[in-house]
């Protein structure tokens, strides 16, 4: 991009932010056009971590391809695996034991909390406060330990297999989750004291990076980004999968459309996720954790599409099968990709600092965008 360095004919400054930059969280490369401190244009350059997961999956069978998807959105890897398993199960028309369903949902929600906690710390860091990051990681560590005990890994779990779970939960699972809930409920006021209520934080995020409801739909923004703009887009409510239909929880909606609204949606979602966990943790049904499946999985010819709600929004898995053991074509509709496309629209006219706040509240995970 050497030719783009410098200024353009209007005398605006063109700056490359990233791929190595403290606030792009990974290898996002933004070419921004600046008039003084005011952002005139943001152009994302992607592909620094593109591994062509879709192509890789074409050569992996239906048991193997799930693990690769952990590497897409690594902060909600369990939910990614879940989406893939759902799609395969839809094709095989498998009935999943209720124990497996409940545990899947429990771990989904734990993953969501962990992801939002990391986002909270990282957002505060983007805005210049370092300390919240450590407080967020303290509680996140408890989730990671639960994951480590049950799934054997802290980040890329690969705990879900088509038909259920890879193994049963650890005997300590319920106790630890309850301990986490107690701890997190007792610490969540710190989130308010340190960040939410802080005047500087509020002035940095309120009215910044506004995305109207129409634009949010048009740009395909989902998850907290869409809900912050008042778009009801929670897949768990609209197209319930697994046992979400039977659960009591609210879809957190904010009408503001600015960074602060997105922030509040995520904080609200953490509390809603805790409610879901509380409903389920004492009611894990007994029984098998895995349905009986054939050794070699073959999907019938046809198209299969499954949608789940990850921590970032709607993840779609679209499998086109030709009847073989591997997908003919697989497409991941990743939430971050659509959310990122709105970044240019949202940050025009703001300051550089606003761009960081907007980017922080979009909660971008670059491998999810690049895939």
């Amino acid at each position: 991009m050497l030719e783009e360095i410098g200024t353009n004919d209007q005398g605006d400054m063109i700056i490359n932010i990233g791929p190595q930059h403290p606030s792009t969280h990974g290898v996002l490369h933004l070419v921004i056009t600046l008039n003084g401190e005011t952002v005139k244009k943001v152009e994302p350059h992607l592909g620094y971590i593109h591994r062509s997961i879709e192509k890789m999956c074409e050569s992996l069978n239906y048991r193997q391809f799930i693990y690769v998807t952990s590497r897409m959105d690594y902060l909600s890897s369990h939910i990614n695996n879940h989406a893939c398993a759902l799609c395969v199960e839809q094709g095989l028309q498998l009935e999943i034991p209720s124990r497996a369903q409940v545990i899947r949902v429990l771990l989904d929600e734990l993953t969501r909390i962990a992801s939002h906690q990391l986002w909270w710390g990282a957002l505060a860091m983007d805005l210049g406060a370092f300390t919240p990051f450590f407080y967020a990681f303290r509680e996140r560590e408890m989730i990671n330990e639960i994951m480590e005990e049950t799934c054997g890994a802290r980040l890329t779990m690969n705990y879900i297999v088509p038909g259920g779970l890879m193994m049963d939960v650890h005997p300590d699972f319920q106790r630890k989750v309850k301990a986490f809930l107690v701890q997190f409920r007792s610490k969540i006021h710190e989130y308010d004291e340190l960040v939410t209520g802080n005047v500087i934080f509020q002035s940095r995020t309120k009215g910044v990076g506004i995305l109207s409801k129409e634009d949010a739909i048009s740009y395909g923004c989902t998850g907290p980004t869409g809900r912050g703009s008042g778009v009801s887009c929670d897949i768990r409510k609209l197209y319930p999968y697994e046992i979400y239909q039977q659960l009591q929880f609210d879809e957190v909606l904010e009408q503001g459309g600015d960074s602060f609204a997105r922030y509040k949606v995520r904080i609200g979602e953490m509390i809603q996720s805790m409610n879901i966990i509380e409903q389920l943790i004492d009611n894990i049904p007994e029984g098998d954790f895995q349905a009986k499946t054939k050794a070699v999985l073959k999907l019938p010819k046809g198209d299969f599409y499954s949608r789940v709600e990850t921590a970032r929004g709607e993840l779609g898995v679209y499998i086109i099968s030709e009847g073989g053991t591997t997908p003919y074509r697989i497409k991941f509709r990743s939430p971050g990709f659509s959310n990122l496309s709105a970044l240019d629209h949202m940050s025009r006219g703001g300051k550089i600092g606003d761009l960081m706040a907007t980017m922080g509240t979009l909660d971008l995970v670059i491998p999810d965008i690049d895939r």
Binding site: G47, I217, S218, G220, T222, D370
Partner: protein, 151 residues
């Protein structure tokens, strides 16, 4: 709108469309010449209001390409899948990026990885690959001996 009602509506809008059987969502196939006018109708028809394009992708069928659009409406909550068959040698289709802004990135992705050109797209450049990259990685006949490891 239920799938049946949607199907009747679609038959009115697009008389030549072929419907796929046995799918959860109504799936129809059309040709690129008719697609743009049809898409405009989908977006603006007050009974349809497909305002949310949640997935756009392309498939290489070796003999031809299809571009698959997943439309949904945030008002009526119905879903429609539209498949457009494209020529193997010159896959081109009109852009829908002015109807659904999200298509801007998704079309660039399809262009980058599948080599489908979207006429009228405001910024038709490669998205992931470098500008001088040769070939389209998601095509079935793509070979890259350096970066693709065969096991």
């Amino acid at each position: 709108m239920t799938n049946e009602a949607l199907k009747i509506k679609m038959e009115g809008l697009l008389p030549g469309a072929a419907f796929e059987e046995g799918t959860a969502w109504l799936t129809l196939q059309t040709v690129p010449e008719e697609f743009k006018a049809f898409a405009t109708q989908l977006r603006s028809d007050p009974d349809l209001l497909f305002d949310y394009l949640f997935c756009l992708t392309a498939v290489d069928w070796k003999t031809h390409f299809t571009v698959v659009y997943h439309f949904s409406s945030t008002v009526y909550r119905h879903t429609l899948v539209v498949k457009v068959k494209l020529d193997k040698n010159d896959p081109a289709i009109d852009t829908v990026s002015e109807l659904w802004r999200t298509a801007e990135f998704h079309e660039r992705e399809a262009y980058d990885l599948m080599g489908i050109s979207f006429t009228g797209h405001p910024d038709m450049r490669r998205l992931f690959m470098t500008a001088d990259h040769v070939g389209y990685p998601l095509r079935k006949d793509y070979e890259d001996p350096v970066n693709m490891i065969k096991l």
